[in-house]
Amino acid sequence: MPLVHASSRPLGLALCVLFGAYAATAAAATAVTGAAIARPLPDFTLPAVAGSNVRLSEYLGQPVVLSFWSSRCSLCAAQLKALDRYYDTYRSSGLVVLGISVEDDPQRALDYAHAHKTSFPMLLDRGKIVSRALDIDRLPTTVLIDRGGTVRYLHGDDNPSDPSYVAQIRALLDDRLIAP
């Protein structure tokens, strides 16, 4: 009996370790999913609701947060508000935040953008070029891009106050672009 007990203890420990590893992977997968992860996002230029056109490649060297929204998404307003807070805190460190509409009706998108004013640019993606490139299938979706233009994190969740946002934004800001 003691022999059996002794041999089952390492097995139990191994199972615990395996389960822990699985749980950690699963938890990470909720924040980091999608085929776009670890790939450079193709460049795009989009018109802004107010002001000039915006091109992604002009922010190379700065971490960029893209937030996809639509007037039909009930959680997008809270998401945009939370990102506005992060932008306010980290813009002096070089953080760029861009809100991207995936609205079909441009007038509705304009009305929504005017009703939910943010201090970062709100862009109109009428052709859905960017959302298709990232294969976005839910809203709100937030994409974090590093200084080199590679997609690092993709949040398709519904928790704008997720503390992992701050940790990930800080990780992107702490990254230094290696000179070629």
Binding site: P47, S52, N53, R55
Partner: protein
């Protein structure tokens, strides 16, 4: 299209340079005094830097050659048409976008950022479009969108009929200010 070829050539170049860059085991003599060893190390680093610089220059030259080759293959002179954009002064017009049509077919829709406009105002010339068309008569229509005088939305079109011959065809969209009329002017110049 030529990227695989570029990669192969770059890898070959890098591999060819590697043995020269790697420090020889025989070079680090145990009996050598520390000062001499430090000098040798410094020389070795300098030599390595020079090799890296040479390699970088080779890569840049190779990239340039491949770019020219790619252009010649994709857009042969007998079918090539290229459209350039230039802008002068820009007091009466803030460029936002240009929509380009050749023979009533959309070929380009370019959105300008403030950085693009600044570059154009500094004298830069942008190649907006390069493509292939058959010999014969064609029509090019350029629609300019932006802010005109008094910050009003401004949309103007300019068109030109041109003859495509055996050589490459170059067309230039020129945006200038008409001081007397206090209006922007849009002109399409056909470079023979």
């Amino acid at each position: 299209m030529l990227w695989p070829l570029t990669l192969v050539l770059l890898t070959t170049t890098a591999l060819a340079a590697e043995p020269a860059a790697a420090p020889s085991p025989s070079a680090s003599s145990d009996a050598a005094p520390p000062a001499a060893a430090g000098g040798a190390a410094a020389n070795g680093t300098r030599s390595l830097d020079e090799q890296i610089q040479t390699l970088k220059k080779d890569v840049v030259d190779l990239n340039k050659d491949l770019f020219v080759l790619e252009e010649e293959l994709l857009f042969p002179a007998n079918t090539q048409v290229a459209v350039f954009v230039s802008m002068d002064v820009g007091d009466f017009f803030a460029l936002d976008s240009i929509n380009l049509k050749i023979d009533n077919r959309d070929v380009s829709n370019f959105l300008y950022t403030p950085r693009d406009v600044t570059a154009l105002l500094k004298g830069g010339v942008q190649r907006l479009y390069v493509g292939n068309i058959k010999s014969g008569e064609h029509e090019l229509v350029a629609i300019f969108n932006g802010k005109g005088p008094h910050d009003r939305d401004y949309r103007r079109a300019a068109n030109v009929r041109f003859e495509k011959g055996v050589g490459a065809k170059y067309l230039e969209l020129k945006i200038t200010d008409h001081q007397r009329a206090q209006q922007p002017e849009f002109e399409i110049k056909d470079w023979e």
